[in-house]
């Protein structure tokens, strides 16, 4: 086992003992495969992703599997979550009539992203799956493809490009400039920012938590104990803060997806 896989707590590395601070870094987001099947390396993030999938399905199965007109407690919670995404996000952006079709996708997206974020502070797991770019990138890709498909389906080939590039004759001289900027912004940068926004938030959040957690352990020696206390308090505060950020980021991810779909469905640009 190499040094980067060793949790800070497993070493006896403290300040004033001639041991350098084991700073978290990119290596904190790398995991040795748990097992390997024919060259396919199954690691912790994959396990968490699949477990998260199971949890989302289990929850909604328990809540809605035998849904009743007079709801039980779990169904009531499920309905609240479902209604939050449906009314608060989809209907807000797309309207009730247009939006109905996209409700299942957006609900799935929200709860999937949320549980992947939540892993960050769930004991033992303590790793946000979405801090691996592959997971947000995959989801952003689906939204991107959906957006492209809807744009060209609704506006035709030429109309679709006009919609994407914000083509408007009234702009006159600056029209080429606008078209180029809009093209880059919408076609190339948008899916990237969509994925990275989520990834970077979770990545940074995890780094912060690691920083203070490792710091608390590392400072636990001599006068450092006082600083370790402060660091520990920060760990608790940041964990609470992360809980908030995780929900916000899931919300933002789905909100943006809704806005993209709305842009594709909109008549003019």
């Amino acid at each position: 086992m190499s040094a980067d896989q060793t949790l800070a707590f497993e070493t006896n590395c403290h300040i004033f003992s001639g041991c350098g601070f084991p700073a978290p870094g990119l290596h904190s987001f790398k995991f040795e495969p748990l097992f390997t099947v024919g060259g396919f390396e199954f690691n912790k993030t994959m396990l968490l992703a699949l477990l998260g999938t199971g949890i989302v399905i289990w929850f909604f199965w328990a809540a809605f599997g035998r849904a009743k007109v007079v709801p039980g407690k779990l169904q009531m919670v499920g309905e609240a979550g479902y209604d939050f995404v449906r009314r608060g996000l989809v209907y807000e952006a797309l309207g009730k009539k247009e939006g109905e079709k996209y409700v299942p996708f957006m609900v799935s997206l929200f709860f999937f992203v949320w549980i992947m974020n939540l892993w960050s502070i769930i004991p033992v797991a303590q790793f946000p799956v979405t801090s691996i770019i592959a997971y947000p990138a995959g989801l952003a890709l689906i939204v991107y493809i959906m957006w492209m498909y809807l744009t060209f389906k609704n506006h035709g080939f030429v109309g679709g490009w006009k919609n994407i590039t914000g083509y408007d004759k009234e702009l006159g001289g600056i029209l080429p400039l606008i078209v180029v900027i809009e093209f880059f912004s919408n076609v190339i940068i948008r899916p990237f920012t969509h994925a990275v926004r989520l990834f970077a938030n979770m990545f940074a959040g995890h780094l912060l938590l690691l920083m203070f957690t490792i710091g608390t352990w590392y400072l636990l020696n001599g006068i450092g104990i006082a600083y370790a206390g402060a660091s520990f308090v920060m760990t608790i505060l940041l964990t609470a803060f992360e809980l908030f950020i995780q929900a916000v980021q899931a919300y933002v991810f789905v909100l943006l997806a809704c806005n993209y779909v709305q842009g594709a469905l909109a008549k003019g640009h």
């Binding site: 992703a49 809605f64 997206l109």
Partner: protein, 186 residues
Amino acid sequence: MNALVQVAAEEENPLIPPIPELVIGLIAFAIVFVFLAKKLLPNINRVLEERRAAIEGGMEKAEATQAEAQQVLEDYRAQLADARHEAARLRQEAQEQGAALIAEMRAEGQRQREEIIAAGHAQIEADRKQAAQALRQDVGKLATDLAGKIVGESVEDVARQSRTIDRFLDDLEAKAADGSKAEAGR
């Protein structure tokens, strides 16, 4: 420290998505989406629809009941108004009947009074006639008695045979009647 540097060198750009994770992520999301979109969300939508229908049904029922109550109230009011009207009509009728009855009875009383008066008059007339008759007989008898005393013999039979007294008295009466007639005629 050495190991750390070595690991850092090995690390890739964290913005390049590793393919296996990408695939797993997409599969995981697909599973969630299929379960929710195909089974669980239609499930809850159906139930929400049922609930909405139940609530609306309850409201419709309440509205129907209220409408019925309103109808009953209106019927009752209409009946009450009818009854009041009927009562007023009956009272009016009774008053009219009473008035008619009183008028009738008054007329009857009048008639009876007049009858009684007429009967009284007839009785008086009859009594007067009887008295006059008796008087005439008595006057005749007195006259003949007196005349008999003066003449010295009874003129009774003669007088009775000749009816002189009667004739005299009749003349007297006729004269009196003529006088009163003339008086009335004037």
